[in-house]
Symmetry: D2
């Protein structure tokens, strides 16, 4: 059994929030991170609308949705001014972090720390700050709803045995707690 | 707090199964019942494809999907021979019960026992045989996934406090167990 | 160049119309025939909604939409009483012909006369009663709109040179008149 | 009867084409112009995919598709470098013009010359360079296919009587030629 603490978010700037956010400050809540690029078609068509739906369907007492703009290509095309207009036009109201640029490399720092393979990537973090799910690409709503609920219902401190990489498996293996 | 035991299924005939099914025989598992009519457009477009997806995504150790054909109008149009062809054409592989005709009334017996308002109706039954959810009309996949997961994760014997009629509420109030 | 006169419709019974319809009586108008089975998923999902849209978008001075129920399998499942309920539930308001049963063979007579390969089949007939298009399967709306318009704009008596089987070709070869 | 010559395109820069394009050089062909902004959700979801489909379905001997990036808000967010990345990510292969910035006003020049109300706007120009259709918002594919076909089939020099503003009317009034 292996528990991976979610690496800290390395953020250049926060949008859509008055205060900077740390994962530590969200301890006790389930966190859904949607890593996206504003010019990534799959993010625009699927993952961002899905994240908005999660935000509206679950209580913010239980589940916090955060976007992170992880630009790893076309850097000049997706600067802050463009992202701000995108957020406005697509009516995104959850907090969005601009991932910190990498030192002399195209991948930004949080993207690299989480070893993401591209965008969109969906990350679920449990109430204790551990990574429960990291999925590159689209997750079916039935599956995502089940995963979030399982994390919401788990009490803090419960240990969860993850059975393999269910981001790839098509079956919905709900994590059982012991 | 109120727990309603799921009424028994009153079935004229079972299709897609070798053995007749009773809710008692499924005790210990979560049961999703999709009540439909083969000529109900909303059933065909949304609820039956959704039920097929639930069947494929969740382990049948945990979740059993059952269809019940609750004909309350156009009775002559939706007899067994037509239903069988429908099941074949739409590739439905979960068990389907033909609801028992009412005595001198249009509503069939199981539909009446569950006090359903029409089709589609989605019913979720917990591991102990209690009705957890009864929803007339479409349920969003995020919400349905969350509800099923919450029932899967609940141990048999746990008492669940349902907070109002969440079939109507748009918010996803996950039931908390005590 | 080959012009095929549309074979006459061999109809057991007409629904959704006070008077029986013949193709002769529609000479001078463009006719779209959608051959369907009520239990054919592709017909229900695509072709019947598309035919309803054609009916609503084009003037009935120019374009007449007709359904023909060409049952070639599950005959007992799709009898008139079931079809009538289907038409009611799916709110089909254009005339629907029940294709005449074949003599000792599964294919009904009109289906065989037009040499259809299955359902859905879309047939377009020009103002002079010639078959312009016969397409097994779904036609993209852009393409269907273009085809119908080309027939509407062609004056009766104009000869049209069809360039190959454009029901199969993906390119939209508008028929040029000479 | 009123024929409006399509105003000339006032272009800051052309993308996706080796040579600058003028409407004069396209005389004899039907032209579909899709005026869009890269951060306009309706453009991304409907009109740009539709324009790509028109490009692939109609012969480029008959129909030429052109995009024009008419930025009237969030100007700093949608500069050339961002547009280039957008075109790359969304795999747009038809020529795209960057509309020339207005003199001390937010609306760019071509957008103003055509009196567009916003994005997306679809403009159809006939073989003689006249505006046939100017539609703010989404056009149904059936309708657009019919309109384009009617223009393709009309010989150059034919005069067309437009019956009212069919961009607003829901009925598909095919233009009749005299």
């Amino acid at each position: 059994m292996f528990l991976q603490k979610a690496p800290k978010l390395q953020v250049e700037k926060w949008l859509n929030t008055k205060h900077n956010i740390t994962l530590e400050s969200l301890r006790g809540k389930v966190v859904m991170i949607v890593a996206f690029q504003m010019l990534c078609p799959g993010c625009v068509e699927f993952s961002l609308p899905q994240a908005k739906k999660v935000q509206s369907m679950f209580s913010d007492e239980d589940v916090v949705v955060i976007g992170i703009h992880t630009v790893f290509e076309h850097h000049e095309a997706m600067k802050e001014v463009s992202l701000r207009a995108f957020i406005d036009e697509y009516q995104i109201t959850f907090p969005v972090a601009i991932d910190e640029a990498g030192d002399n490399r195209p991948l930004p720092k949080t993207m690299e720390a989480y070893d993401m393979q591209g965008t969109p990537t969906i990350i679920l973090i449990d109430r204790d700050g551990n990574i429960n799910t990291k999925s590159f690409g689209h997750i079916h709503n039935l599956r995502l709803g089940a995963k979030i609920a399982s994390l919401v219902l788990r009490k803090s401190g419960e240990i969860c045995q993850n059975e393999g990489d269910d981001a790839i498996s098509d079956a919905c293996n709900l994590e059982r707690c012991t």
